[in-house]
């Protein structure tokens, strides 16, 4: 059987161009990255229904092929890129709206629908979503739910995962499960029986392992980057689309901005609050020559409430801004920033390449983190912005602008992204996302106990690590030619040196004498030992996990960068 027989011949592609395109996300990776992960998928598939996707999972298990689910590739944390080649499962063809009930305030969609399409459907009916991502114009519902995070609306409603009422997913063993409340029209629900069976099986397994509360069940699949299941349907909360009033204030310093933001959060509870640092606003082309905004700190946001409440709230915001010597910008500017919420990547033209780095940090630490980041990255062009959440944290997005055409400099500068994640730790924050590149921080991100549970489940459901391998839980690297050659060279040299000088240095006289005897002191022996060392070097490289590779590589890049980068 071939993959085309399973998902339909029109829904499979193996052309070089297609495989290249689906093997990347918004981040341009330096060539060095492909020395630890594979550069391309072997096959791209676009299943059009759940049964064919289920068959594809079974096919992958039978043939021991890695499967990586992908939405529209709008994230930057490597959650959807290949690590061990294999099959890419593009879910964007699963894009129907299946159920909407205004009394239940919920909507059920297939995972591949874009947030934009879902929003425009809901807005026509007088509803909207409590949270959607800033990449809503292209990101898929499944993608954001699989990765988690803050978005538009998080200032009032929190994380996206809190908005998920239920999901349907295919587990790594091919079983269809429904976790939480998945609302569907009974007459259109062809998978009900299958899903009930699968869900029961999962519940039993969870109880056997002592993990089985429903909350833990849905946490399995949401926010874990498709490592424990491919999301196929999502039921989301909806909210009435009341009056939307955007506002924007400009400040001279981050301290003033944070001061006002905390007061606004306490007094008003706006739908959305976002900050733009001075280095961001100075790079927004459209702000050129706007005296009150270019190079200033901007706090922009929106109220989504009744007309009367909004009238009161906007007065409060005005008062708070004036007290802190900020300026409340006019409606035009407020609407401008509101529409810009979906285009944080605008500043990329200043790169032209971009290295993203993001953390979740306590709001009150923001000025200090900003200073520290500016200081750490003073040799780099950066633009900083972030979204405020309702739990006192804020996402702190650092767009590091660079030029990938300067390959050497771009490669050694790659460590900066990881540096921000480490900085988060120092300030009591967390990396914003895990994906592939932050899997080192997965334990802190999910919490000790949760991460242990997730690991147990991964082992149970996906013993061969086929579903989105290496993401979140780490795993062995896929070494490229250069890293293998480097491993060989290092092993070769180390073995040679050890053979020549080791015994003398360690003072083992009898060994020194033995080696110096004509029996051992021959060229073939030197070559043989060095070759064995080289082969061992390759074995070590192949056995290395991604986290180990990053733990060795990042400090080396940092040192190289300090010495060599202008």
């Amino acid at each position: 059987m071939r993959v085309g027989d399973i998902v339909g011949a029109d829904n499979v592609s193996v052309t070089r161009e297609t495989c290249m395109m689906y093997s990347r996300d918004v981040t341009s990776l330096p060539d060095l990255a492909y020395q630890i992960v594979s550069p391309k998928f072997d096959i791209i598939t676009q299943p059009v229904d759940v049964p064919s996707l289920q068959n594809l999972v079974w096919y992958a298990i039978d043939n021991n092929i890695p499967l990586v689910p992908r939405g529209n590739g709008t994230s930057g944390w490597g959650g959807a890129i290949p690590t061990r080649a294999g099959i890419c499962v593009d879910v964007s063809e699963l894009n129907k709206i299946l159920y909407f009930n205004e009394y239940e305030e919920s909507v059920t969609v297939e995972a591949g629908i874009t947030w934009r399409d879902l929003l425009s459907f809901l807005e026509r009916l007088g509803f909207t979503l409590p949270v959607y991502p800033s990449s809503a114009t292209a990101a898929t519902v499944g993608g954001f739910v699989a990765s988690g995070g803050l978005g538009i609306g998080s200032t009032k409603h929190g994380d996206i995962l809190k908005q998920v009422k239920g999901i349907e997913a295919i587990l790594p063993n091919g079983k269809v499960v429904r976790l939480g409340q998945v609302h569907l029209n009974p007459q259109e629900d062809t998978l009900l029986e299958k899903a009930e069976k699968g869900t029961k099986w999962l519940s039993d397994v969870l109880s056997d392992m002592g993990l089985g509360t429903p909350e833990q069940e849905s946490k399995l699949i949401t926010g874990t980057y498709g490592t424990l299941g491919i999301i196929t349907k999502v039921t989301l909360k909806t909210i009435p689309n009341l009056q939307l009033i955007p506002f924007a204030c400009s400040f001279e310093s981050m301290d003033d901005l944070v001061d006002v933001a905390s007061k606004i959060l306490a007094d008003v509870q706006p739908y959305f609050l976002r900050f733009l640092a001075d280095n961001y606003t100075s790079k927004l082309h459209t702000l050129r020559n706007l005296e009150l905004e270019e190079g200033k700190y901007i706090l922009s946001g929106a109220l989504l409430n009744t007309i009367y409440q909004n009238e009161d709230d906007i007065e409060v915001i005005k008062e708070l801004t004036q007290k802190s010597e900020g300026t409340l910008l006019d409606d035009n500017r407020a609407w401008f920033y509101w529409s810009e919420r979906l285009y944080p990547l605008r500043i990329k033209r200043h790169g032209p390449s971009l290295v993203p780095a993001e953390m979740l940090a306590p709001l009150e630490m923001l000025p200090e983190i900003l200073n520290r980041t500016k200081n750490e990255l003073k040799k780099s062009k950066v633009a900083i912005e972030g979204t405020l959440s309702n739990d006192g944290t804020t996402s702190f997005m650092v767009w590091i602008l660079d030029d990938e055409r300067n390959r050497f400099s771009f490669t050694i500068g790659w460590y900066r992204s990881f540096q921000i994640a480490s900085l988060a730790e120092q300030f009591g924050g967390l990396p914003y996302a895990v994906g592939l590149w932050n899997s080192r921080h997965a334990r802190e991100y999910y919490g000790d106990q949760s991460f242990e549970n997730l690991k147990k489940m991964k082992k149970k459901l996906d013993p061969h690590n086929l579903l989105n391998p290496v993401k979140v839980f780490g795993g062995r690297v896929t070494p490229g030619k250069i890293s293998l050659t480097a491993g060989f060279m290092v092993g070769f040299v180390v073995a040679l040196m050890t053979f020549m000088f080791g015994p003398a240095l360690l003072g083992i006289d009898w060994l020194v004498q033995l080696l110096n005897s004509s029996l051992f002191l021959t060229l073939p022996n030197y070559v043989l030992v060095s070759l064995i060392g080289g082969v061992l070097g390759i074995v070590v490289i192949k056995a290395m996990t991604l986290n180990q590779a990053l733990a060795i590589g990042i400090p080396l890049l940092r040192i190289a960068s300090k010495i060599l980068r202008k």
Partner: protein, 397 residues
């Protein structure tokens, strides 16, 4: 493979790197929607160009075909986060394809036709008089007559029999409003737009100049077009239009709206017609002629406009622009079918537009889908709704 900086001479070498891979362009691309693989969408194609620049990809026939599978509908440019002018980018890539002799044969035919015959269909200048049949008496005094307004029907309207009524309707409107107008007739040549689509920038100015020479010699101040692409081409490539600002280039609806403002047109009550206006890509996204056609339809009593989804700046392409209709007519027709499907979910029985290519695309898609609906140019709708003179439809209040 070696690195290729073929974009440097066009000043576009940064653009593939500036792309943020946000995917906005891909999701609005009509070609991607049909062929559904990223490598046919703008984001994918930009990455292929990048791989060619870096010496990893091949600048061959397959690449050339992909680049020509594009409507140049300006939608990707309109939604691009980082402000890449993607349409311009595809045009210069096509220019490089032409230089390397990798042009698809049908596109080469159009190019040769424009160069040697002055039109897109290997016809001749005398054929540009055919639309005047039956209205010879009306127009004979108008040909090359010095006047303030010139009507430029463009190749499609002047040469394709099914579109002749568009030109006749414009004449009817101008006569009704007693506009002092002139026609270039057989002195008209192609505006040069297909040259740009086929990557020949060198000769566009020359084509525009040929027309402008005649137009300016007649003392014209306003040129009215039936095809938005002609206006776009002159605005972008004609040295004269760019440097001198004394020539107004108007779409049919912009001109008709002007006549309405001057109260020179009166309409007859129509028997409850529901129409939907399909915004042609260029007039909506480039020329910003969005409100005018809607206001005209609102002014005609008994005609009601319902909006399609998507419409206005977010309009979907009809599939016929950018030479796709000659390079891959089947794909082009499938795209038109999709747009007609947008019409079928509205209560409209008629699609009104203001681009001859859209009309041709929809007529073909009507044939392939079996949808029964009338496809009209805004000019035709206006002309058939005019209040007859005998019923008081004169210009006096």
């Amino acid at each position: 493979m070696t690195k290729q900086d073929f974009l440097e001479k066009y000043g576009q070498q940064d653009e593939p790197y500036v792309c943020a891979s946000c995917g906005n362009c891909t999701l609005v691309c009509p070609i991607f929607k049909d062929l559904k693989w990223e490598s046919y969408g703008p984001r994918g194609k930009l990455h292929i160009v990048k791989s060619i620049q870096e010496g990893e990809g091949e600048f061959g026939e397959d690449f050339a075909r992909r680049v020509f599978l594009c409507n140049l509908c300006e939608h990707c440019t309109y939604v691009c986060t980082t402000g890449i002018n993607l349409d311009r980018f595809w045009e210069v890539t096509r220019a490089e394809i032409r230089k390397r002799g990798l042009m698809p044969t049908p596109a080469q035919f159009v190019l040769d036709s424009v160069k040697s015959r002055g039109d897109i269909m290997w016809m001749g200048s005398a054929d540009r008089l055919l639309w005047m049949e039956d209205i010879e008496e009306v127009v004979k005094g108008r040909i090359l007559k010095p006047a303030k307004v010139a009507y430029f029907p463009g190749c499609n309207v002047a040469l394709k029999a099914q579109l002749h009524d568009v030109a006749r309707s414009m004449v009817k409107i101008m006569e009704y409003a007693e506009v002092d107008y002139t026609l270039l007739a057989d002195k008209e040549v192609c505006c040069g737009a297909p040259l740009g689509w086929a990557g020949n920038f060198e000769d566009i100015n020359e084509m525009a100049e040929k027309n402008l020479e005649t137009i300016l010699s007649l003392g014209v101040e306003t040129v009215v077009f039936s095809c938005p692409s002609c206006i776009q081409t002159w605005k972008e490539y004609s040295k004269y239009v760019k440097e001198e600002n004394n020539l107004a280039l108007l779409t049919a609806s912009q001109f008709i709206k002007r006549l309405l403002r001057e109260k020179r047109l009166k309409f007859e009550e129509q028997p409850m017609v529901t129409v939907t206006f399909h915004d042609p890509c260029i007039s909506a996204r480039v020329l910003n002629s969005i409100q005018e056609p809607r206001e005209i339809i609102d002014d005609i009593p008994g005609v009601y406009n319902v909006e399609m989804t998507p419409s206005q700046e977010h309009t979907r392409c009809c599939g016929s622009h950018g030479l796709l209709d000659v390079v891959d007519p089947v794909l082009s027709s499938r795209i038109a079918e999709k747009r007609l499907r947008d019409v079928t979910v509205t209560p409209a029985t008629r699609v009104v537009t203001e681009c001859p290519r859209c009309i041709l695309g929809f007529e073909l898609a009507k044939f392939t889908t079996g949808y029964e609906m009338k496809v009209q140019d805004i000019t035709q709708l206006v002309a058939e709704s005019l209040l007859p003179r005998s019923e008081g439809g004169d210009t006096e209040e």
